[in-house]
Amino acid sequence: MRETIAVTATELIEQVQQEYQGELLEARASSEADAWLGVPPADVQQIARFIMDAWPPVHLSTITGVDNGREIELLYHFVADGCALNLRAAVPKGVDQIDTIVPVVPAAIMYEREIMDMFGVAMVGHPDPRRLTLPEDWPQGDYPLRRDDVAEEAEEETNA
């Protein structure tokens, strides 16, 4: 029953490399069906457009946010023709914004709203930037999945 993988992770990375003018910050295949790519935040929309056109139909599974301390890392989990493609872009804290990919990938609409809620990374050009899971009276500037407060609390606990 196993369907053959139409594009392997290595092939996929090669094709993106050919298309992309800049230098990829990361390009590795952790298995035949798992590719990891890193690009500067400014180029995410461009790469997303290329992925969508190169292996239609492409499915966007979700967008993960990770707080790395100095930056918010965003991971776009695509599935292109039976191969998982994880596109990574790190948004430095203080910048806190990135171009939306909704015009290119309509499926990103909910996931980008979740990132805005949880990490406070503004999606520039998002068609519907309302809150998704947080209540309307949630304080402005408080982002539940940011790790800033953990560092502060740890300090408070030590001092106490």
């Binding site: 029953m1 369907e3 966007l60 309509p106 998704l132 953990v150």
Partner: protein, 387 residues
């Protein structure tokens, strides 16, 4: 006639879970819809990075009461991928049997709810009676009807004994026969067809664009199932096929689900035939090496994805969960738009929404004073650790 906008919910607009829908209607026609979620957000993702890998197993199981097994399975798969632990053959087969048991119970539960939403309560009662068969089997194998706690890091908790095997074969035969009867009702019963045909329609192309998954996507003619896109467990060693329908409506979604129950029965029987004897647990390290991984499974509602990152300690640095209902929400809004007000419940219920899954924050209301108070993270941590 002026357009009218009104809220439905947050109390139980479809299934017994809270979410808020806002509909704009022109007479009997729905012209616009909007959805507000977050009423049952429980900060599970954040809590996962405050607990160790074993504790998270229990936490992830509690993301959802219906697809609990899919969550633990997906979590285990992601963590095992980082730790590079191969689980024993027999454990993989048992995981697959549990995965399909859960599909049966969930799809039958949905079919009952669908019957209830269209005022066909007889169907609801019969289906839920038959669903008890699979509930009993789940209880027999795992000791529980709800949270089975079967997948553990490195394998499964309990083995399937030869006595259990006999009972499973008997139970699955009854379920298969009864589900064929429901497939017959769904295709021949006039009342059922009238309430489901052309209701909640959305095209396959639109589903693709909006990122819909699972039976919603397949009922719009797209053969996309994680079990074949990224074969996991033993799905490549049993005979089955991805079920789809070109109907694009509630009827199509019903047919896909009913057929998947029949297929699940066959998969379980084949698994019992092929399952080798052997160990069911592999040794799993307490600390997981540095790394990251994604895992996807086809839960009963569609693609479920977990992303786990490890920093080399016994506590994950990040666990991200995306449940199928969130992926299906944009499509569900399109389903109700353009339809009749009377069709809202069934059209909305046809994605089999699960909001405990989708939300995962705590706002406490003081009922006596009517004040709403928000707990700080520090207070929450104190509350959690004090217990």
């Amino acid at each position: 006639m002026p357009k009218l906008s009104f809220p439905v919910g947050p109390q139980h607009p479809a299934l017994k879970e809270p979410e808020n829908l806002r509909f704009t209607v022109d007479g009997e026609l729905v012209v616009d819809a909007d959805i507000r979620i977050g009423y049952v957000h429980r900060s599970i993702e954040r809590s996962c990075s405050e607990r160790n890998y074993v504790q998270d197993l229990y936490l992830c199981e509690r993301v959802c009461g219906i697809c609990s097994n899919a969550h633990t399975l997906c979590y285990c798969m992601a963590v095992e991928k980082i730790a590079d632990v191969e689980i024993p053959e027999r454990a993989q087969w048992i995981r697959m049997i549990m995965h399909e048991f859960e599909r049966i119970h969930s799809h039958l539960l949905w079919l009952g709810v669908a019957g209830y939403e269209i005022g066909f309560d007889t169907l609801f009662m019969y289906v839920w009676r038959d669903r008890e068969v699979v509930q009993d089997l789940l209880e027999m194998v795992s000791g529980s009807r709800g949270h089975y706690a079967m997948p553990i890091l490195g394998g499964v908790r309990y083995d399937i004994t030869p006595e259990m095997e006999t009972k499973i074969r008997e139970g699955v035969a009854i379920l298969r026969q009864r589900t064929e009867h429901y497939a017959d009702i769904a295709t021949t019963e006039a009342t059922f067809i009238m309430r489901t045909q052309d209701v909640g329609a959305v095209s396959g192309e639109r589903c693709r664009q909006l990122g819909a998954v699972g039976p919603v996507l397949r009922a719009s003619g797209v053969d996309w199932d994680i079990r074949t896109v990224f074969p996991y467990l033993k799905y490549d060693q049993v005979q089955w096929q991805v079920r789809s329908s070109e109907l694009c409506d509630v009827l199509g979604r019903t047919l896909v689900r009913v057929q998947e129950v029949i297929d699940a029965c066959d998969i379980i029987t084949q698994a019992l035939d092929q399952m080798p004897e052997g160990e069911i647990q592999a040794k799993f390290p307490r600390k997981v090496p540095e790394g990251e991984a994604t895992a996807r499974v086809e839960a009963q509602r569609g693609e479920l994805i977990y992303y786990v990152r490890s920093d080399g300690s016994d506590v994950p640095a990040r666990v991200k969960i995306r449940t199928p209902t969130l992926a299906n929400l944009p499509a569900s809004i399109e389903m109700v738009t353009g339809g009749y007000v009377a069709d809202i419940p069934i059209a909305f219920a046809s994605i089999d929404p699960c909001f405990s899954c989708t939300d995962r924050m705590v706002v406490l209301d003081d009922l006596r004073s009517g004040d709403s108070r928000q707990m700080t993270w520090a207070e929450l941590v104190k509350l959690g650790r004090g217990r």
